[in-house]
Symmetry: C3
Subunit: 140 residues, 3 copies
Amino acid sequence: MSRVTIVVHSGDFDKIMSALIIGNGYLAMGDSCTLFFTFWGLLALIKGKLRKSDMRLSRMNMAGIGAWMMRRKMKRANVAPPEKLMEDYRALGGRVIACEMTMGVMGLSKNDLDDHMIDEYAGVGQFVKASQESRTTLFI
Amino acid sequence: MSRVTIVVHSGDFDKIMSALIIGNGYLAMGDSCTLFFTFWGLLALIKGKLRKSDMRLSRMNMAGIGAWMMRRKMKRANVAPPEKLMEDYRALGGRVIACEMTMGVMGLSKNDLDDHMIDEYAGVGQFVKASQESRTTLFI
Amino acid sequence: MSRVTIVVHSGDFDKIMSALIIGNGYLAMGDSCTLFFTFWGLLALIKGKLRKSDMRLSRMNMAGIGAWMMRRKMKRANVAPPEKLMEDYRALGGRVIACEMTMGVMGLSKNDLDDHMIDEYAGVGQFVKASQESRTTLFI
């Protein structure tokens, strides 16, 4: 049972950051949390992906800030990068579901994904079940 | 009264898919559901729109996958297309509200929209009322 | 304590409009509301920004409608512009938190932001606290 369930639909760097920061925030303040990675969000679970600087931002027109630039600015501001946030999320007991339907559509197998980050491979039914037991459900 | 209320603000093909798959998931597992189509989301209610392959994706840079390509990949993976998901949603008793304010801003009349998919034409007040009675509210 | 908490992650003109219209809708119908402006959303709190016509739309390909065009269409449809919606939001008692982490990453100081619109400068902890006390939490 999770108090918080978050659909991670977006694969944009800044949205993945928001999902992980918010997820860690809930965990740090006593809630349990399930992240359901689906559609573009699932791509963040591909082996090595979170460490890469080629992730897209949801908007690029901020004086040319790309994901690489944002990583630099985050580092300077002492904000952890996504791979570290995910490590923390897992260490704090955060649960991760990889969407099987998306794997099928995108032709990804379990081998493509980083199974250290994943508790379950499941469909929308598991998401709904988690959400029905949650106080808070978000779509990112 | 709805247990789940979802604002569909985005008109992107993949977000519309997520909204309908999630909506159907809740309905299949015993919740009632209201979808409030507003801003770009409202465009999905234009007659014939859901069947078209010209819908935009929220991101295009995945090796050139456009909505057409995604439809093909979905078909191969036995994922129903949006027009079928909407049919299922309606058959399962899902409720749909078309945002009147957006119709006014975009110059759309009831004649432009597919009224088989719509229960009500209403404003933000109806959305808030549905949300206040819901366990779960999402913004997509 | 807030009955509704909304993360405003996006800085797109139409998403800011949705956030403010929905926030005002909840306030008008008896809920309290907290808006947590973070990532691109924080840019909407920069002095004078909400009045400008240079805000981005989350999609541009609707027959060339940009934010300027949308402002015109909204005016014709008697929809208030974002600066007026924010005024109403504040007059109705809506609470605003500016995300300190984002300020650090983007190099923005309190001087850059319009403090008439802001109650608190805080981190994800304050957001989580508001959300834990809320019936409804949205991510926009």
